[in-house]
Symmetry: none
Subunit: 186 residues, 4 copies
DNA sequence: GATGAATGAGCCTTCATTCAT
DNA sequence: GATGAATGAAGGCTCATTCAT
């Protein structure tokens, strides 16, 4: 039964992540539960407060971030330009905008966010700093750009649109990421 | 009492514009009315549907856009770079993100938006096109950038953050506009 | 300007009578004013309270009743049966159901109704009593039927249907009046 | 908790039936919930739309109709007159007037009414037809009266009075039913 | 552990009524 | 006198959250 519970928990987090990325932080928890195929009470058992759920989604996000970095890191020596480009787009694809709050920790204070994520955030920022340094070394990024600043930019770019259907939004986003990366060059 | 009614109407539009720019399109009309210092029924008398109110806010936005363009247009001959820069920041200060829908008309379809604004939108886009052409001529912007694309970028950058308090958000936005404008150069 | 005011007043009463007959006593006064083609404030100037308006409609109804009686009275000697029948249907056509309250005074107590109509009610009932006596004399109606009872029956039959569209309702009503009159025979 | 939920549901239907019979179809759902002793959201959980609730009340009504018929049917052979009389009064006591719409299906079209009750209506009408035939056979009712017509008459007679307190209304109704039944004789 | 049911609070919308022009 | 505007109150409906099975 432990495995079952775990599966439920994961389904809830996945559903919440998808909803948050698209519709923002103020999603209907009822809808999340339905989307995850569990009862609303199961959601509350796993995540007593909205903050707890967001914390889990955030942790999930950070781990994906680290995975991306691990994937792009080795490539940057061989072909810095396309590795950096791939990194930027991959991060943007995560659409962390709605969680900008926690994502760009330095700048943000939000009581709705869990305190316990300092470690993850620090680790994540450190990883970004590493890849950023390589990019700077390769002349792809201005020297004065900090990791937190970079993330804040990504976050601002990938925020959810409030209840509006924009066709080809993904393409617009990709285009904007291109412009963003270009604008960050020395 | 005609003047009084007018003042109330304007107060409602102003309150709605502020709320929408900050919190998005799904604001509480009750809150708007309170913010404007009028009863809820007064809001409804002036704007029977949510769409009507959004339409008024949008019209207001467009007129401010045109004012900005008229202000920046004459300066661009003398000092293209700073005029273009001022233009970009001024438009971003309007925070049209929540209304991206109508703002960058070409890309968007939304039934909640009024149909009657085609004219304003077209005029607005035409005005942007003019100033954009000058900027291209001055070598400040890539040749292949369309007016609608430019506006969509601004809109994506200035979307409201979903219910999150980010300190110094205005500064982050300004920084991002700088990067955006830089990224748009040839 | 006196004539104008009078015309307005009459228009309001007519509109209210029509609405009440069809939709009952709980009509929207705003709708009545619109229907009458006057501003809502004009309605309130003429009829400060809902009771005042209903009173006027009721007075109007009573006068129509009297007119019907005056029309049928002379005919009853020549052809009692068809005169009585015509009378019943004509009264039913007034659809006094919604105002049953006041219409069948003896049985009803309603604080929303004006006190000042006693005279009209008495006169109206007296007139009904006259024609009823003739009908009894002609053997068309049971001896023990009182005027108030007769009216209550008509009223119950002609009440407005609550917000439901019944096709050919008028025909059903006429049929029911026929049955009613038949049932009242000795 | 299944039993509890069932009890709540029944309480809501009972409260709604009482309110509808007295005040008509446009009752305040809030009032129904209060009357039933449950929260408004519980009402909505059981009956997402007003139509759903009305449908349930209607189904309840039909089942009571059938019960009455089953009770009166066997008696009609022994004493047709009093059995038929008892039947008419019992049906009138249900006060189906507000639901006339569905009650006399043939004549009515209402989008607020549920589509799914055709079966119940047909069964109910068939049952009425049976008892009606016996009554006709016993010479108590005209040959040309249809079941739907009979029901429409009952419905018209038992409609709710619009927000008016008529003392002894029940007695007036009973008297009118008597007249009605008498009027239906050959 | 999981589930569905119950609840109150909040926003949306309409309407009777009052007020200033 | 007539009018349109302003307002509060009330009902409709949804959703986050708690509870009993």
């Amino acid at each position: 039964m432990r495995a079952d519970a775990r599966a439920n928990r994961d389904a809830v987090v996945a559903a919440a992540a998808a909803e948050i990325a698209t519709h923002g932080i103020d999603i209907s928890l009822t809808a999340v539960a339905e989307h995850a195929g569990v009862g609303i009470a199961t959601l509350y058992r796993n995540f007593p407060t909205r903050t707890d759920l967001i914390g889990a989604v955030l942790a999930d996000l950070e781990s994906r971030m680290l995975a991306i970095i691990e994937r792009c890191q080795p490539l940057i020596e061989a072909d810095p330009e396309s590795a950096w480009d791939a990194f930027g787009h991959a991060v943007a694809e995560l659409r962390p905008g709605a969680l900008v709050t926690a994502f760009a920790a330095e700048f943000v204070t939000d009581d709705h966010l869990p305190q316990s994520l300092e470690v993850e955030r620090a680790r994540s920022l450190a990883a970004v700093r590493q890849i950023l340094d390589r990019a700077k070394h390769a002349g792809l990024v201005r020297e004065d750009l900090t990791a937190a600043q970079f993330q804040m930019g990504i976050a601002l770019i990938t925020r959810p649109l409030p209840d509006v259907a924009v066709p080809d939004l993904a393409q617009h986003r990709a285009w904007l990421v291109d412009v963003y990366l270009r604008g960050l060059r020395p």
